[in-house]
């Protein structure tokens, strides 16, 4: 293979890529005003730019701002159903991740109220990923959890539990292998899907099973146990992620930060799951937690 220099370092790649993504951001921002087909590329560019920004400058505010922009772009596409926008389940899932990670309340609420019955509603004309039932179930479950939190109701969370169970059941290794020619990537993505379902299920159970104040002591014990399971699931996912990144020689900028982990930990906190386990992981420098930076998990400082 020609053209590859041993002196070409990761920093070179990050720098050059950041410059390119910034150029594309400018292009997509302009064209998305008139072309709904530019909304997804805009969101994708926001995501990629945020990863390179973090890798090079560690600026949490810039990263959140980009996530927020990406979330709003996708929500615009889902909400207005403009021609040219593909309302696919993977994009709705991404929109939820971005809106939660960026603490974009309006975007989060709008997505939450797309549930239930996404398949016949917000995702009706999906083209990409339309052959994957697992993604549709996951999108449904995720939106229901969001709705449960937005409305402070338990019933959507109970429905989410069923959707997420279906999402895990339909997680078909054969589908991933056909869609992702690199077996390593297919394996990682299948496991990531499973991990996201497991983490969301924990949150959904927490909301659905939360007891009244009179049963507070028992409730705290259950919450602690759920949090422990949640933490272990995050541990396993991050180990798998590290394995994938080590084994595959290509770059994976979107895995510089594990966006689903950021979002789901924030969601868990919103559902009043204890998250002290996170602090312990950081203190012990457990493998993989550099991809869940604390600065991005903490709520941004409120403006005066």
């Amino acid at each position: 293979m020609s053209g590859f220099s041993a002196n070409y370092t990761a920093t070179d790649y990050d720098l050059r890529s950041l410059n390119h993504e910034r150029r594309m951001l400018a292009v997509y921002r302009q064209s998305s005003h008139t072309d709904a087909g530019a909304l997804q590329p805009l969101a994708n560019a926001c995501w990629r730019t945020s990863c390179f920004e973090w890798a090079l400058y560690r600026d949490a505010e810039t990263v959140r701002r980009l996530w927020g922009e990406g979330a709003r772009a996708l929500v615009q596409g889902f909400a207005r159903r403009r021609h040219g926008f593909d309302p696919s389940p993977d994009q709705l899932i991404l929109a939820l991740h971005l809106s939660i990670a960026a603490r974009e309340r309006d975007a989060f609420t709008e997505l939450a109220f797309a549930a239930p019955n996404l398949r016949s509603g917000a995702l009706r004309d999906a083209r990409a990923f339309r052959g994957s039932r697992a993604h549709f179930h996951l999108a449904e479950g995720y939106a229901l959890v969001a709705r449960a939190l937005a409305e402070h109701k338990q019933s959507p969370a109970r429905a989410a539990v069923d959707s997420l169970a279906a999402a895990r059941e339909e997680n078909d290794a054969g589908w991933w292998e056909r869609q992702y020619p690199d077996a390593l990537e297919a394996s990682w993505r299948m496991r990531e899907h499973d991990a996201v379902c497991a983490l969301l299920s924990a949150v959904a159970h927490r909301i659905a099973d939360e007891k009244e104040a009179v049963h507070e002591l028992h409730d705290e014990e259950v919450a602690a146990s759920t949090a422990a399971d949640f933490g272990q699931a995050v541990d396993e996912a991050l180990v798998r992620l590290e394995q994938f990144v080590e084994r595959d020689t290509n770059h994976h900028p979107k895995l510089y930060i594990w966006l689903p982990g950021i979002a789901l930990c924030a969601l868990a906190a919103s559902a009043r799951l204890p998250i002290e386990w996170l602090q312990e992981r950081y203190e012990k420098k457990v493998v993989g937690y550099s991809r869940l930076p604390l600065e991005l998990l903490r709520n941004p400082a409120k403006k005066a």
Partner: protein, 555 residues
């Protein structure tokens, strides 16, 4: 590898208060761990636990002699089977395990007796010198035993063990557990051959690389390119084996015969022929999945075959294709006065002149190949014969935004040639064995100029994809083929490639796509017995406008 039983795992944790991570490490050593009485008379204990987990108070003692510790084969902490001991002290408590490998009658290490200690040095082929190259304890048995978890893999080179670990982990424990003697032998032979083809120079251990993991840590652990390629080959081989398992159920005898044929060319008696045309498990798998081995006549059959009949017809076409490949190679060898591989290559190189495209056309036309590859190799011929001018069924040409007619100019990228072309022929460049990323990426990318030959600024590009024998175009990354989402997904793969040249091409293509300067066309035709059927190739679709009619025949 079987999981540690829940009962045993809980027993270990309860009795030793070991953190789960340590138990997992012990489990991954491929041994059953059963609590047993203390026994200080272990033989060759060589107990190394790679990770201590979070509780650093756990210690592992290593009494007794350790055999082969100086060999890099021990770098992964694998310890030898046989009656081993692992003494663990934790917070003043002493708890000793006796490790008994899971065994079956076929394992060469069944009794853990003296056989289990003949590891010493091994030769360049990864075979234990004590046991010879293909004896009872030869490489294929060692691979099978290791994959099944019946041995620690000490007879294998560490890079091979690493690669097998990755394969087993990626394919899942169910795959490894389902390796019976029947399909296991087939899989292992495929893997065995891939390992044999790996460079002989696996002498240095896995090393640090300066590829960062994106978190600012520049000393991340990475693997050698040769090991990476071995992993790719093994994974492709394992996936091909899985596919034939499915075909076996549908196609019965035909599928088995076809599989035997594939096996011959990939790793058996005819593997030299297969290597000459760079047959690969990954390309074969793609062609099998997409139906590229469908006989050409089937495309126009108003009553297409289904089910078992369809599988049988595809398997027969596969066997005919391989026969044709073998005939062509042997004829060429005969014409160049010798069956020596070097003679053929030298003769070809002496004849080749001109740029990469001309040389490629000549070389590609000499050999039949898998249908997908044969079809993709037709793209430059078709484009060349049309003078780069592509039209749809209504005679409309590629046009720029200002209405200027365009034509395809320089071939920038050809997947069957390994990707980016630099304009000069490099005899070592192709035929090449392709990675899955290349196989499922763009087939060809051209630069585009004005119909009068003038250069366009900014530049335009065109992707040309091939569809063979009415095969299903691949959905990849969740995207329908030839859609903008599909193009964006492939562009992103280029941008994230380890190769800087690919990154730059990807960036250029994304900018072009966003500005309406990236076109796409589909070339479809028939391939029979590994060769393109004359007159069958045509452009049938252009993007962004989709036409259903054939546009132009290539004669």
């Amino acid at each position: 590898m079987d999981d540690l039983s829940v009962e045993a795992s809980n027993a270990v944790r309860h009795l030793t208060n070991l953190p789960q991570s340590t138990v997992e490490t012990l489990k991954n050593l491929g041994q059953n761990i059963q609590p047993g009485p203390a026994n200080t008379q272990g033989t060759n204990p060589q107990n190394q636990v790679g990770q201590q987990g979070e509780n650093s108070q756990t210690q592992v003692n290593q009494p007794g002699q350790q055999v082969g510790d100086s060999h890099p084969g021990n770098a992964f902490g694998h310890h030898k089977p046989g009656r081993q001991q692992l003494e663990i002290r934790n917070q003043g408590q002493q708890f000793q395990f006796r490790l008994n490998p899971r065994t079956d009658g076929n394992s060469p290490f069944a009794d853990g007796g003296t056989r289990g200690h003949h590891y010493g040095n091994w030769n360049h082929h990864g075979h234990s010198e004590s046991h010879g190259s293909h004896g009872t304890y030869g490489l294929n048995s060692a691979i099978f035993s290791y994959l099944r978890g019946d041995s620690d893999g000490s007879a294998l080179r560490p890079q091979v063990r690493y690669a097998l670990d990755v394969v087993s982990d990626t394919m899942g424990s169910e795959w490894a557990n389902n390796l019976t003697s029947k399909n296991g032998e087939r899989i292992v032979r495929l893997i065995d051959h891939a390992v044999e083809q790996a460079p002989r120079s696996f002498e240095h251990t896995l090393h640090q690389a300066n590829r960062a993991n994106g978190n600012g840590h520049r000393e991340s652990f990475s693997i050698e390119p040769e090991v990476q390629r071995l992993v790719e080959n093994l994974l492709s081989a394992a996936q091909l084996g899985k596919h034939f398992d499915k075909l076996d159920k549908a196609g019965g005898n035909f599928a088995r015969r076809a599989e035997a044929t594939v096996a011959q060319f990939l790793f058996g008696d005819k593997s030299m022929v297969g290597e000459r045309v760079q047959l690969s498990a990954a390309e074969l798998l793609r062609d099998l999945r997409s139906g590229a081995f469908r006989p050409p006549g089937e495309v126009f059959n108003p009553f297409p075959l289904t089910g078992r009949a369809r599988v049988a017809s595809e398997m027969m076409e596969l066997m005919r294709t391989f026969d044709a490949i073998e005939r062509a190679i042997r004829q060429l060898d005969g014409r160049h006065n010798g069956a020596q591989q070097g003679g053929l290559d030298n003769g070809l190189k002496g004849r080749l002149t001109g740029g990469a495209v001309a040389a490629f056309e000549e070389l590609a036309s000499l050999f039949p190949g898998s249908p997908g590859r044969a079809g993709r190799n037709e793209i430059p011929k078709l484009i060349g014969s049309l003078g780069g001018m592509l039209t749809d069924a209504n005679g409309r040409q590629f046009v720029a935004a200002d209405g200027t007619a365009l034509k395809l100019d320089q071939l920038l990228w050809l997947s069957t040639a390994g990707g980016l072309l630099k304009g000069t022929f490099n005899g070592e460049m192709f035929p090449v064995r392709l990675s899955p990323q290349l196989i499922y990426g763009f087939d060809a990318v051209y630069s585009v100029i004005g119909f009068d030959g003038r250069t366009l600024n900014p530049p335009h590009f065109a992707a040309v994809q091939a569809q063979i024998n009415g095969s299903e175009l691949d959905w990849v990354f969740g995207q329908a083929p030839l859609t903008e989402g599909w193009m964006r997904a492939l562009i992103e793969r280029l941008k994230d490639s380890v190769l800087a040249d690919h990154n730059m091409l990807g960036e250029m293509l994304e900018e072009a796509l966003a500005a309406g300067r990236f076109h796409a066309a589909l070339v479809s035709g028939s391939v029979e017995e590994g060769e393109a059927v004359a007159g069958s190739f045509k452009v049938t679709r252009l993007l962004p406008s989709v036409t259903g009619e054939p546009a132009f025949n290539y004669a």
